[in-house]
């Protein structure tokens, strides 16, 4: 699109690392080949995805305008950049930032790119990446060259590859860390980028490193491979190493990572990760994408067998000097301060005091703090990025890190610089207080730009931010420190499973109309590297979610025992009671049309469900009753699980899936029996084989949950397997609702 696109290669010649320059040239050629029809669209799609170039919502050339689907006729006509993805449709560019580490020049580059190719906003993600939206694919080679000249690559930011290696942004300065994991995360990132053993995965692979076990910053529990810094004494000598975890992941069904080894010496983390990559590439699922993450391989093999295979692989790996050569060099490259440490300021204004309290944390180095720049919904303007670059130059040795809470961490700030820093941040409109608090809401892009979005996570986040910011001055401290995280769908990009108050987008049919909802997920744990996952309590209309937050936080304040955390409170009160608290919010009020559109989006939601012959408030089909019954059954299963009644919980969850399947089967076969074999068989014939049940993006994934549960229904249940089954049942029921909504248009049920 830009007229200057043809000039950037020459302009930046010699300024880009040779390998990156070559890589981008290749991509540009592939773009040309695709335009000439000489490269298959599927192949091209994977090619661009491995460079972080994503599709975006409406890129199939269709957009629902609130009344009907409108065709978008792009100038490039039928040319596509992937199956059902129009060439001219704007897309998203993800940019990998290993460990979140950036310098001032890189911030400035990001500012220029956001302004020239995007809409003036750069977005920080929950995995320390950047994302730019509304990018035309023809602009991507120039954009990548400009990044490469600044030392940044987009390679393997998406696709079935090793994604950004994330690391604690406080590494090296945190008083609680065991040691600084920065050199190890950088080495791992460099080593795995483009590694031949990492090119044949069935799905993505996400590594993370953390300097300690107790804080959240590394989130190792929810990663495919996680390393937590440890120290131990061997033969009287103190040694450093890592506790190593594998097979964690959020996604539709969250898996907690399993301990692989309690102590791995530093020189082993690269070869062990390489061995894991080889095993994953060799044995991981390739065809069924919904079972292709390494967590499923580990679940199927069992952790002991998986470990055995990895260690066997490790033994036969040919030696690679990169495994260790970084260690001596890297350890010399310690980050240092720009200014001498100073005294804590005697705060003047209330605003400054509030900011100091919420946005700074002491470093282990006396006289220094780390200051957090809190970004609303992870968004920052080009102007602010340049101001931040100036701040980084003025107060640090030109370094800054992104965080998994979609913020920036400014490290090595001398305490005596804090008044000047705050003044500079305020001038750039970057001095908002509340970092890490209830107003620091994390949200994925959701229906704003993501093709998978079901509800408006950013719209809800913006509304909650507005409402909570108004109340923040009078907020109880226990509430102030809660975490809210929102995903637009079940895929968990907003990390809702590890929030005190988590929400993920679902749709429900109310009186014949589709209504945007959020599943309320309570009691997840952010601390301890995402120590435990919450469980869904109820699906609530989007417009009622602010009331959910108010009610639950008020209840917590009034009922909590001394020092009780929200997670402990949720556990003590129990889901049955919490559901009662929310019961009246579960349905939209009569005659309030605002519930039929989402936050920040006035279009009528999912209008394909407004088929002829349906009349609001009059038609409640037996399908809806049956689906509601299935949800009740699942809820009871969750309660049984809470009480440790594993068999009862597992059987109940399984039954709820069968019940939901039966609800759909009854549409064309009203006399179907209660026999699960018949229901599952009929469901397979009528909904799976015909693909009627298929989610537009997840395909038959949710139906497979039912088939697997049915097949294993007689097998002994464990707490882990039951926990997964409960989550899968919830997703199956959500998918049954979605299927029914789709059928509403097709057959007028």
């Amino acid at each position: 699109m830009k007229v200057s696109n043809s000039q950037w290669a020459a302009q930046l010649s010699g300024k880009m690392p040779e390998a990156l320059a070559r890589e981008i040239d290749v991509f540009e050629t592939e773009i040309a080949l695709r335009k000439q029809g000489k490269l298959d669209e599927r192949l091209f799609a994977e090619t661009r995805l491995r460079r972080g170039t994503y599709g975006q919502r409406y890129d199939n050339g269709q957009r629902h305008d609130g009344q009907k689907v409108q065709e978008m006729k792009y100038p490039s006509g039928e040319l596509t950049k992937g199956p059902n993805t129009m060439w001219d449709a704007p897309g998203m560019q993800r940019i990998k930032i290993p460990g979140g580490g950036l310098n001032a020049e890189q911030l400035e580059t990001m500012a220029d790119l956001a302004e020239e190719y995007s809409d003036g906003i750069a977005h920080v993600t929950t995995r320390q990446d950047f994302q730019l939206h509304y990018i035309h694919i023809d602009d991507t080679p120039s954009l990548m060259r400009r990044l490469a000249a600044a030392g940044i690559t987009t390679r393997e930011a998406c696709g079935n590859s090793v994604r950004n290696v994330t690391a604690c942004p406080y590494a090296g300065v945190c008083p609680d860390e065991t040691f600084d994991v920065t050199p190890y995360s950088r080495a791992l990132s460099r080593f795995l980028l483009g590694h031949p053993d990492c090119q044949n995965f069935g799905r993505k692979f996400k590594p993370a490193l953390s300097g300690c076990a107790q804080h959240a910053c590394g989130l190792t529990s929810l990663h495919d491979v996680g390393y937590v810094a440890k120290r131990r004494t061997e033969n009287g000598a103190e040694k450093i190493g890592f506790e190593m975890y594998v097979g964690g992941g959020l996604g539709a069904v969250p898996y907690m990572a399993k301990l692989f080894d309690s102590f791995v010496p530093p020189e082993e983390i690269l070869p062990l990760t390489q061995a894991i990559a080889r095993v994953f590439a060799r044995l991981g699922e390739k065809k069924n994408r919904s079972r292709a993450r390494i967590k499923f391989l580990i679940q199927d093999l069992g952790i002991e067998k998986f470990k055995e295979l990895v260690l066997e692989e490790r033994k036969i790996l040919p030696f690679d000097p990169r495994w260790t050569e970084y260690i001596t060099v890297a350890l010399r490259e310690q980050e240092a301060p720009l200014n001498p440490g100073g005294e804590w300021p005697s705060a003047a204004s209330d605003a400054f005091k509030r900011w100091l309290k919420s946005n700074t944390r002491a470093q282990k180095q006396k006289g220094y703090v780390t200051a957090t720049v809190a970004l609303p919904l992870g968004d920052i303007t080009s102007t602010q990025l340049r101001a931040l670059a100036d701040i980084v130059r003025r107060f640090t040795r030109e370094t800054i890190r992104t965080t998994v809470e979609q913020n920036f961490a400014l490290r090595w700030i001398s305490q005596s610089d804090l008044p000047a820093l705050y003044e500079a941040l305020e001038a750039a409109k970057l001095g908002a207080p509340g970092a890490g608090s209830i107003v620091d809401i994390v949200a994925c892009p959701g229906t704003d730009t993501c093709k998978l979005g079901i509800s408006s996570s950013r719209g809800l986040a913006a509304e909650l931010l507005k409402q909570l910011a108004e109340k923040s001055f009078e907020m109880d401290e226990a509430v102030e420190n809660l975490h809210i995280k929102i995903s637009g769908c079940f895929n968990s990009c907003g990390q809702h499973h590890v929030a005190d108050l988590g929400f993920y987008g679902v749709s429900r049919k109310v009186a014949g109309y589709a209504v945007p909802h959020f599943q309320v997920v309570l009691g997840g744990e952010w601390e301890h590297n995402a120590g435990s996952y919450g469980l869904p309590v109820a699906a609530i209309p989007s417009k009622n979610i602010p009331q959910v937050v108010t009610r639950l936080t008020e209840r917590y304040v009034s009922n909590r025992t001394n020092g009780e955390t929200f997670k402990e409170f949720v556990k003590r009160i129990g889901k049955a009671e919490l559901k009662t608290v929310l019961d009246d919010l579960a349905r939209p009020p009569a005659n309030d049309r605002s519930f039929f559109s989402d936050w920040g989006d006035p279009r009528e939601y999912s209008l394909e469900d407004l088929g002829t012959g349906e009349c609001a408030g009059e038609v409640v089909s037996s399908v809806e009753f049956d689906l509601a019954a299935a949800e009740r059954e699942l809820f009871e299963a969750q309660l049984a699980f809470e009480k440790g009644q594993i068999d009862k919980a597992g059987d109940g969850a399984y039954r709820s899936m069968v019940h939901a399947a039966k609800a759909l089967v009854k549409i064309g076969y009203s006399t179907v029996s209660d026999n699960p074999d018949e229901i599952v068989s009929e469901f397979r014939t009528r909904y799976y084989d015909t693909q009627k049940f298929f989610d537009p993006f997840a395909g038959g994934k949710f139906a497979q949950y039912l088939f697997a549960a049915h097949e294993k229904s007689k097998e002994p249940r464990t707490p882990d397997s039951t926990r997964y089954l409960i989550d899968e049942s919830q997703l199956f029921i959500d998918a049954a609702h979605a299927c029914y909504n789709r059928l509403g248009t097709a057959v007028g049920v």
Partner: protein, 199 residues
């Protein structure tokens, strides 16, 4: 020696608003949605990006294929902005006039929009012209000298021979986009400016 002429592309035009404090951006969202569904412009309109939560940010952006429209608050200056993304045939005069016409047309629609209650109005005098491509137009006094011969006839036509000023702020952050402020000696209505461009 005269500076080499620059062929302008990716021109942005921002019309500064009167009484920005009274402007509520929320109604813009349904309005922009209706522009997409009603296909009010020849250009292809695609989506809406809502950045009201970002202070001094792009505000509410109507994303298009050829161009974006926004009510933009960058630098805490609220204005209606047209951001031309697709390249244009023709010379720099064509690029300037096209962008100005598009911004003014959008502004006229918004001024007449009942859902905004007449609160969103162009101040009639201040227009900022940007070039959103640093290779085409780096932010420098040299670029200003190079584009001045195109900006002057454009401003004369736009303000129909009235006095105007053309200001390049050399003290502005050199990393920001190249821009020039145009200010007429008297206020014009949006309709008048559109007519001036058409004449």
């Amino acid at each position: 020696m005269a500076a080499a002429r620059v062929k302008l592309q990716h021109v942005n035009v921002k019309l500064m608003l009167k009484d920005p404090a009274v402007v509520d951006l929320e109604p813009l969202i349904p309005i922009f949605h209706s522009w997409i569904s009603g296909r009010v412009f020849e250009e292809m309109l695609l989506d809406i990006a809502d950045y009201r939560h970002v202070p001094a940010g792009p505000g509410v952006v109507l994303i298009g294929h050829e161009a974006d429209y926004s009510v933009d608050n960058t630098g805490n200056h609220l204005g209606i902005r047209y951001n031309r993304k697709a390249a244009l045939e023709g010379d720099s005069q064509d690029a300037l006039r096209q962008a100005a016409r598009a911004a003014l047309t959008a502004c006229k629609h918004l001024e007449e929009e009942p859902r905004l209650g007449g609160k969103l109005r162009f101040n009639g005098q201040e227009i900022e012209v940007f070039v959103n491509d640093r290779l085409v137009a780096p932010n420098s006094a040299a670029t200003f000298e190079a584009v001045r011969p195109d900006l002057e006839p454009f401003a004369q036509k736009l303000f129909r021979g009235e006095k105007y000023s053309l200001t390049y702020d050399s003290g502005r952050d050199p990393r920001s986009l190249f821009s020039v402020a145009l200010k007429s000696s008297r206020p014009f209505s949006t309709a008048d400016l559109l007519q001036n461009l058409a004449s």
